[in-house]
Symmetry: C2
Subunit: 305 residues, 2 copies
């Protein structure tokens, strides 16, 4: 039985490309693996796959009894059904260490860098395996996406170095132009349902026993979202109604470098506790906040303690 | 504040040497770290430290508020007091993934190999840092100890390759002879209390809600333990009385390549369920069983489900 290489729920570009790249690397190391995803690619990811001639991985929703390599997460809340009886053989990630545990030794590469793609670039080098041109392009875009073209506070020197090397392999001469092209695709909201916008990059967290959902939409100009803001507010209220303590949606302006956060919570005071800023009704502007992982999740985790 | 590099409870040679080596490597990468241990070295570890001119790390029993790098474990049950308020910045390990979680991204190198020393040897290479001669000797012994001189089923090609390279750096020409010398020291039981023998290499596990202790004594000939067996049986009954479901003590004969397991349990049938062999009174001979991690813990975890 081929092991699945599988990213998190509501897959973003890193999660999809990392599954493709890790499956390529594991295969070349002699393991029997297949890339998979917990959903279809977002418009941004579709742009990236098409640009570099990559195929979207098969969609998987139940992993009961399967062997797994996880990419881009280690939280059970972001895993599919059937994890109880699945066997995790490996993890490649760049997030905090979640609550996935294993019964046997595994291979985990988890680094405090901006993107799983950066870890994978280094794993290819470590094992002396050449990175295929199309996968290099995908990894390059994953890093540009996760680091918001180097602007996110999660971006490290290792990410910049990886981008430089990957751009050479992929034959990309202007990585910033490629990044802006990708973020313009990501910014488009026309023809997308409110539900799909909220879940485009959404994760549930267990914060001291409370189920907390945090989504993020990144746009090149916040005004793009003016016409959908009321709809998004309604939609996150619905999502909260499904048994969550809070749902927060970050509307991130990558040029202004800050986020407006839409709020629906059993305890709205947790926002002021987390960020020291009083919300204006059901939203708050958080200057400089661009990273859910580095700036939003840790602050909420402290506030929920 | 200097971060601590800290191995597990009841430190073995790998746990102590890995803390020394990881602290050396992290320091050379520019991090402010100090090696530490959750106890004094065993006779085997003392032999290794003396042989290669290394110093035993400071003993630490409370890590409240401290920054930590964990080596050789990721289980809260093997962590010291104060873990709730400590911050785990990294993990180097070769065991199953335990229940340690973090609030921020960390650096984890966890490989399915025979010894943390093998992972560290590869980390030195990855970062292009030269391994000091004395640390190479320590890592070499840690690998020989954990893999029972390559005889354990946990031993991988990566461990053998690491030993070969480390032996050259340390100037050791006959690694098997060094291993046997070390295991003879480890085999000595004279003048050691029953308590110290049980806890020489002992770990508590949470198995489906049950606290289960598993210790291991490795000797070059099982007859060495004839005169202490009754005393060990009494001692593990005492340890079980402190609120454990079961305590198992593996008496491993590294030449015959098998283990006699001493048993004290609320449900002795779990042993037959785990190994398919009916215990003879309070002990059972398990041919070929040498590794707690690979052969004993996974079997018990399944049996406890």
């Amino acid at each position: 039985m081929s092991a699945l290489v599988l990213g998190h729920m509501n897959p973003d570009t890193d999660s999809i490309v990392a599954a493709i790249a890790a499956a390529d690397l594991y295969s070349k190391r002699g393991f029997d693996v297949t890339p998979a995803a917990q959903g279809a690619p977002t418009p941004e990811t579709e742009f990236v796959l098409k640009k570099f001639g990559l195929s979207a991985p098969q969609v998987v929703s139940d992993v009961a009894g399967k062997d797994l390599y996880l990419v881009d997460y280690s939280d059970l809340a972001q895993a599919p059904q059937g994890m109880d009886s699945a066997t995790v053989l490996g993890i490649v990630d760049h997030h905090k260490l979640g609550d996935v545990t294993t019964s046997s030794p595994l291979e985990a590469w988890i680094w405090p860098v901006g993107c799983t793609g950066t870890v994978l670039k280094n794993m290819y080098d470590f094992y002396g395996v050449e990175i295929p041109k199309n996968i290099a392009g995908g990894l390059l875009c994953a890093i540009l996406s996760d680091t918001v073209i180097f602007k996110s506070p999660t971006c490290t020197e290792a990410d910049k170095k990886a981008v430089e090397a990957l751009a050479k392999i992929a034959g990309v001469s202007d990585v910033v132009a490629l990044g802006m092209e990708m973020f313009k695709v990501k910014s488009a909201v026309d023809g997308t349902s409110m539900h799909d916008l909220v879940f485009r990059d959404y994760k549930d967290f267990d914060m001291n026993g409370n189920k907390v959902g945090i989504g993020q939409l990144e746009v090149v100009d916040l005004s793009i979202l003016d016409k959908v803001k009321a709809g998004l507010q309604e939609e996150i209220a619905k999502v909260k109604g499904e048994g969550r303590h809070s749902v927060f949606l970050l509307l991130t302006d990558i040029m202004k470098e800050g986020s407006e956060m839409l709020i629906v919570s059993d305890d709205p005071a947790v926002v002021e506790k987390a960020f020291g800023v009083k919300p204006d009704g059901s939203s708050v502007w958080l200057p400089g906040v661009m990273s859910r992982k580095k700036q939003v999740v840790p602050n909420f985790e402290k506030a929920f303690k």
